[in-house]
């Protein structure tokens, strides 16, 4: 699924790295606990979270994720956007809840979780 499709499906506002909206996402992960996210490597994943701090961006960066979606109308702070800018990670925010956002992406075909061999 293209990141633009995610933006459209979630009616999300994009905060940085618009030039990477054409990238593809192959799996998704929804969590507010960063260690749960760090437990399973997925290829070119999108992270959906209600957590709002710089560790979200660092976690996504460590995992080589390509997109972060903040749910429940939370807006990323300028510090977080600065941090994300140099990583190339597309950051967006949606007013949908975690449950809704995950459900929409899942039912639109973003299903397979490809666990890398680590």
């Amino acid at each position: 699924m293209k990141i633009t499709t995610i933006r459209d499906l979630l009616n999300a506002e994009v905060y940085c790295n618009e030039e990477n909206l054409g990238r593809h996402v192959y799996s998704a992960c929804g969590s507010d606990m960063m260690s749960d996210v760090l437990a399973y490597v997925k290829d070119q994943a999108v992270l959906l979270t209600g957590l709002m701090n710089q560790q979200v961006i660092r976690t996504a960066e460590m995992m080589d994720m390509v997109c972060v979606v903040f749910v429940r109308s939370k807006k990323p702070s300028p510090d977080m956007i600065d941090l994300a800018e140099e990583t190339g990670i597309v950051v967006m925010a949606t007013d949908k809840t975690m449950y809704e956002a995950c459900g929409i992406l899942y039912s639109s075909g973003l299903i397979k979780e490809r666990k890398a061999n680590v």
Partner: protein
Amino acid sequence: MSEALVFHFDVDGDNFTSAGQASVQVKKDLRQLGLPTDIIRRISIAMYEGEINMVIHANGGTADVLVYEDAIEIILEDHGPGIADIDKAMQEGYSTASDTIRSLGFGAGMGLPNMKRYTDSMDIKTKLGVGTTITMRIELA
């Protein structure tokens, strides 16, 4: 063994916001060295979890990344409280982190298990009241 290339970092224990900066830098440095993406990812995740632990459990410390021809070693040293029961600490889901830490996205008790999962070997030396040194190794072969 030929001489290692060493990256050294001080990890500030008072600042949760900056926690992880050393791992971000290591990721950049290792990319520069041209290591494979999946190896870099394993190293950076393991080090990031360890760095976070030093900040949330041990009031900071130092991190050294040694790059050998055939392996990478990550050495995390702190002078925090030490770990009372390593077997317990290694269990998935075991955590002594506060609710405050949990509200910041950590404290799920997955950090040490993750560090072990992503590295080829992990050694914990710890003494109550003295500190903890964790050495992780990832083979490049």
